[in-house]
Structure formats: structure tokens, C-alpha cells
Subunit: 420 residues, 2 copies
């Protein structure tokens, strides 16, 4: 079947823009009732959702997807209930829209205000987990944004079923049918056409592997908010409390190694190399962690494998840790600047001064002192549900909460002022 | 001469990134002394600047540039003094870097802070006026950013001379030579190679015509902050005070028609069409304004030319005004959403309620009530020197001051917390 992708993408964008105007004007109460209705529909529609999901799961198994991947796809009653509960929690968040961020008056009497407004139309591109479909839709509704969702091909039937519940919920309170649109064309060419709709779409948030995100960056004329990967570091300064250092490193590496805020590289001040480091690495190895060490690490810990240059940029997402002994805090900071991913980097130190140097000179989106990198998370920061993580410099950095789905406009009020 | 543009662009970006690290750590005092030194050097170097400028002016005349364009290029003692004064004014602005934007504590004792930091490396692409070279460099230095400047080809000799003074000033206080880099390759292919350096460059700000900006958006993998054009509207509501309406419209159209915040389209409530509009349009015509009207405008004002569909999206930058009579405020708001450029749109009304509807439903970067669109300007808003104007939704909107050249990071301080 031939398809005019550009025209379809334009039409989809245009519908989203029209919906966005209605959403931007919607009262908090209406948005909350929509979310309540969505949660209710998800519960009511659970049999058809599970049926669609079963077809996805069957196809995934036939296609030979790994058990872990199949598990990520799976929706059962417990997960559907959790998704619905998440929607109700988002309804409970404060509405960021309409907030006066700042206001001041000029000598000529003009009153100037920065007022928070929705971004407009958000395009989300993500991979397998179907719960992202509902989370993203709910966050966009609450923040007054229309959205276009493009999930993983392998979750398409599940996503379409979830989308029916979302659309029904939104419509039931009078919000536009196109409040949330789901892309059902699986061709990459259609996504690429969407990525050119800067006339209608205000931002694209890709979530997934590095290759997916790179493709979005290269093809989009729409602004992108993203993080490629999380190569998080813990640096143990000479003054680090040994017990605290061990606790933080074990947690940062082992508590959940498959996520982006898990630590991938340990940097250790030389003063700790001989006496402290071997014991720490022994504990890590005992928990199943493979150590890839610099020569000085290998000298003091014989179970270490020698690290190659690639290990310093690796996002293992696994029980592997790259370890490097450094001479100074500056060397640790330079290592992070050179190899890091601007996600989350931590120092353990008992020196206020060294902590301050680290905080000032490391420009990652989250910089931590005496805490596990695993805290870099919207929920842990108290932002509520997380939209994603940004390691970019523009707009939002670090864990993104609902407020990061808004922007502002200047509102200027006068009594007939003109410029001279 | 063959040239490996990608390698040169990568090297330039890499040098800028190294300089950015030094600038981010520079004390306010050092940055201010650098600006003072730049201002001083501009004054000392004025003869060589004027000499370089004379060569640009001569080439411009030979190439047949319009007198207006040649005038924009020209640097004389008065203009050099003004540029140096501008640099000293920027030194006087508050340093935005290091500010704690927000802080809070979590139940587990983690202290979370959002701290303002520089963007990093800023690429500025602009057209003819050489004073932009110095303004942009000074704003970047003050906000702790390294920058790469790419000015108009016709101003290259002037820009290189100005750049020598800037670099000498920065170096004289110990800032890196690459604090400010000037692109001296005039090939478009080199600019396109720079636009792919997302590894080193954090943002590109193009300033100039729509075509220049579109080319940047289509070629960049770096985030872009931009505005394509200013199609600003004034809407006169039925309740508008007639004297105020006339004053605002005359100012918005005529005070300086060649700039992006001048009004291009007037929308008028039907209640004002018969009695008020002809007099207003007569006054505009008397000031040399050509009126392009909708059929209802042409009915009441016989000196109007009929407007075509293109007139509603035109940025005339000239003494031309498109005029449309609308039935309702909603129709005016819909017109702005359809044809506007999200720059600046104003209403004149004496109704608080109608003003509020307009403010809530128009999502342009600046929305004004009872004031001339000409106020949409960094200086007029009290932001200090203006970096540019953004009509985008991400990061900064409206007139951009020095603060808009910064971003933030999360700083998290604990006493050994780990995640459970």
C-alpha cells in the first residue's frame, strides 16, 4: 500500500494542535475528571486490554523475544490496577498551568508577568512497556498538552486497546477526541514525517535506546528533549567515610543495575587504593559484580579484569563496574567531563571544600554529595510522576516532572502606553 | 582548496568546550574585568577596526548593496563608543550563575537544590550588523558561556577586527583565548558542519531572515532557539477607548516599522467598523501607511487596497498594515492562532473580562493588554541587553535576557543515604 506519509503526519499534527487549544483552556477540574474517567475505563475495559496484550505476548514469543522483554510487555490485573492508580495520582498533582512565575512593574507603569502555560503538542516516542502509554497520556492531560504517542511495534495491540480507554475517558468529560492520538502506522517513514511537523508539534521526547534517540535527533526539525544514556560515576575522595563509601557504592551499583541512574564507573582517590579499595571491590565481587579496573586497580585487586578505553564510556546496565584510581579530585572531575553522560555523578567526601569543588565543576544534570546515584529520579526528588530524564542543557534537566511539560508567556498589562 | 569541514568544526567545538569549562568556573569579578578590558581594547583598537570596516563598506558598495544595508554595516567613532558602552553595561548586570533557583528537603533528609549554571557553548549565527558580534560575545562572557560567532560574510573584516579586541581583552585577565571564537570560513558547508557538533555545542541561536533560520533548523542536530518572524497583531475590542486605541495602533505600526515587534495586522471588532475605523485608517494613511483591508474594511475606507490571503501572514517590516473586521473576540483569537507567529499580540479593551479571555487564549510569547506591541523587547521588559527573541516553546520565550543563556543542575546533598 502506498501512503502519503507527509500528508498523514500533517493531518495528525493539525488535529493535535486543535486539541491543544482546547486543553490549554481547560479548567483543572475538567482535566482531573478526565483522568478519573480514564482510570475508571481502564478498569472497566480490562478484559479487552488483556486480550490485546495476549496477542502481543504471543507474537513476541513467536518472534523469539527474550523472557525479560516479554515480561516488560505483559499486562495483568495487578499491572492494570497499578496503571490506573498512577493516573489517579497524577490527577492529585497540583496543576502547573496558570501559575504566575514572576511579576514586576516597569517605571512607565507596565505590569509584566511570566505565566505558566502548556507546551502545546507533545510527541512521545518510546519502546516496549505499554504502561508508558497511559502514564504519558495522563501527564500530558494534566499539564494541558495534547499528545501523539508512538510506542513499540511489539506493543501495538496493547497500546491501541489502552488508547481506546484513554480516548473514551477524555471524551466523556468533553475533551477533544484528539487529546491523545496513538500512531498505528508502524513504518519508520511515518515517524520521520511526524518529526518534521514543527508547525504543529512543539517538542518530541524519545525514550529508549541510544540508537532510537540518535535517529530522532538526526531527523527531527522539532525540538527534542532527551538523554542518550546514563554513565553515572561515584568518586570516593581521600576523606570519604569508609562505611558510608561502601554503603553508597554497593547501593549505586547493585540495588537495581539495569536502570540509567545505576553507577557504571567508580573513581577512587589514590589514598584509598591500598588499604580500602580491595575490601570494597571484594564485597562488590561477592555480590556478583565483575570489576574492570585500571592498572592501579588491577595491582591491588587480583579479581579485576583490565579495563579497556571503551569501559569508561560503557553503560553496562548490568553487574559490571569500571574502576579507576585517580591522583586528585581534579583528575576525577576531568574523567567525568571526558567520559560521562551528564546524567548523575556523585562524590563521597567528608570535606566541605572538596564537595563544593566537585559540585561547582561537574555540570551533570544531577550532582550528588554523599548519596547514591540511584536517587536521581522524579519520585525521589518529590516531583511526582516522571516524564523522562534530560541530560540536555535546554529547557529541562535531570528528572522531568509535570512542570517540565509547561512553558511560559509574558503577559504585559498597561493603560495605553506607547513607545517613544 | 579542499577542506575537511567536519574535522575543523569538531576541533572548533572541542576548543570551545574546553574554554566553557574554564568560563563556568570563573568568578563574577574575573568576567567583569574581562568585559572592562574588552571595552578598553575596542576603544584603543578603533583605528584598525575602522580600517577593516572601511574595506567591508567598499566591498559592499561595489557589490551594489542598498544604502540601508551599507549603513547597517558601518562603524564610526560614535558607534564604536556605543558598542564599548554596551559592554560596560553588560558588566554591570547581575551575574546569574550560581543562583539557587529552588531548594527543598526530602523526608529521608536529602537536600535538593536547583542551581543556575551556564549553557556551555553557544553558537550564534547572524547577519550584517557588526555590533552584534560584540554584544553577543559580552553577553556570553558575563553568563559564563564560551561562544562561536558566525556573522555575515559582508562584515567579515570588521568582525575579525572586533574579535581581535575581544580575544585580547579576555586573555588579558586570564580567560582562555577560545572564550570567543569567530568563524572565518565563509563556506556554508562549514556552518552546516558546525550545526552537527551537538557533542560540543549546546545551543545555536540564529538571528536573521526566515530563510537563514529555516536552513539552521533543517541542518542542526544542536538545539535551536529562534523566531522566524514577527507578525504582530493589535485587536481593538468593541469596548476599546478610542483615543487609547488610536495611540496604540499608530505607535505599534509607525514608530519603527522595520522591526519584528511592529504590528502588521489590525483586527477590529465590527462594532467599531462604521464609526471609528475610517478615522483611524485615515490617520494611518496620512502617516504614509498603505492599508490592505478585508472586504468589510474596504467598504468603510475607500483608500484601502483589498487584502489577499498572503497579507494575513506577511511580515511587511514597512508602512503597510493588513486590516480585518471580526465579529467577535473569539474570531480575533482564532485569526491570531491561524496566521500569527507567536511573537507579540495585543488587545485594546476596557473590559477586564475580555482582556482575561484574550490573555488566556492567545499563547504568543508576549500577550499585551492596552499597550503597544513595540514594548516586546528585553530592554523594555527590564531584562538588560537582549540576546534575541524566541517564539519557540522550549527553554526561553519572548525577549531573551542574559538569564536565558543559563540552565540549571540539580545538586543533591545527603549524609550517606541509599535507596531501598
Amino acid at each position: 500500500m502506498s501512503h502519503d506519509y507527509a500528508a498523514s503526519a500533517d493531518a495528525m499534527g493539525r488535529r493535535a494542535r486543535a486539541a491543544a487549544r482546547a486543553l490549554a483552556a481547560a479548567e483543572t477540574q475538567v482535566k482531573n475528571r478526565a483522568l478519573e474517567a480514564v482510570a475508571e475505563r481502564l478498569s472497566v475495559d480490562r478484559e479487552s486490554i488483556k486480550e490485546a496484550n495476549a496477542a502481543d505476548l504471543e507474537a513476541a514469543r513467536q518472534a523469539g523475544l527474550s523472557p525479560a522483554m516479554v515480561d516488560r510487555l505483559m499486562l495483568d490485573d495487578t499491572r492494570i490496577d497499578a496503571v490506573a492508580r498512577g493516573v489517579r495520582e497524577i490527577a492529585g498533582l497540583a496543576d502547573p498551568v496558570g501559575e504566575t512565575i514572576e511579576q514586576w512593574e516597569r517605571p512607565n507603569g507596565l505590569k509584566i508577568e511570566r505565566v505558566r502555560i502548556p507546551l502545546g503538542v507533545v510527541l512521545l516516542i518510546y519502546e516496549s512497556r505499554p504502561n508508558v502509554t497511559v502514564d504519558a497520556a495522563a501527564l500530558c492531560i494534566k499539564s494541558g498538552n495534547a499528545c501523539i504517542l508512538r510506542g513499540g511495534k511489539e506493543a501495538l495491540r496493547s497500546n491501541l486497546a489502552l488508547h481506546r480507554s484513554i480516548a473514551a475517558g477524555a471524551e466523556s468529560v468533553g475533551l477533544p477526541t484528539e487529546t491523545v492520538q496513538m500512531v498505528d502506522l508502524t513504518d519508520h517513514a511515518f515517524v520521520n514525517a511526524l518529526l518534521k511537523q514543527d508547525r504543529w508539534i512543539d517538542v518530541v521526547i524519545p525514550r529508549g535506546g541510544e540508537q532510537l534517540i540518535r535517529t530522532v535527533v538526526e531527523n527531527a526539525t522539532i525540538p527534542v528533549i532527551k538523554h542518550y544514556k546514563g554513565v553515572c560515576h561515584v568518586y570516593l575522595d581521600a576523606s570519604a567515610d569508609p562505611a558510608m563509601a561502601t554503603r553508597v557504592v554497593l547501593n549505586a551499583k547493585c540495588q537495581r543495575p539495569g536502570v540509567c541512574n545505576a553507577t557504571e564507573t567508580l573513581l577512587v582517590h589514590q589514598a584509598l587504593a591500598a588499604d580500602y579499595l580491595p575490601g570494597l571491590l571484594g564485597q562488590l565481587a561477592d555480590q556478583g559484580v565483575t570489576i574492570r579496573g585500571c592498572p592501579r586497580t588491577c595491582d591491588v585487586f587480583d579479581r579485576a579484569q583490565p579495563a579497556s578505553e571503551d569501559d569508561w564510556t560503557a553503560e553496562y546496565l548490568d553487574l559490571i563496574l569500571a574502576v579507576r584510581v585517580v591522583d586528585t579530585t581534579d583528575e576525577a572531575i576531568d574523567h567525568i567531563a571526558r567520559y560521562g553522560s551528564s546524567h548523575t555523578d556523585a562524590i563521597v567526601t567528608s570535606s566541605r571544600e572538596i564537595a563544593q569543588t566537585f559540585v561547582r565543576r561537574v555540570d551533570s544534570s544531577s550532582v550528588m554529595v554523599n548519596a547514591s546515584t540511584r536517587f536521581s529520579d522524579g519520585g525521589e526528588y518529590g516531583l511526582g510522576a516522571e516524564v523522562g530524564i534530560s541530560t540536555d542543557k535546554l529547557h529541562a534537566r535531570g528528572p522531568m516532572g509535570i512542570r517540565d511539560l509547561t512553558t511560559y508567556k509574558y503577559v504585559v498589562r498597561g493603560d495605553g502606553q506607547v513607545r517613544t
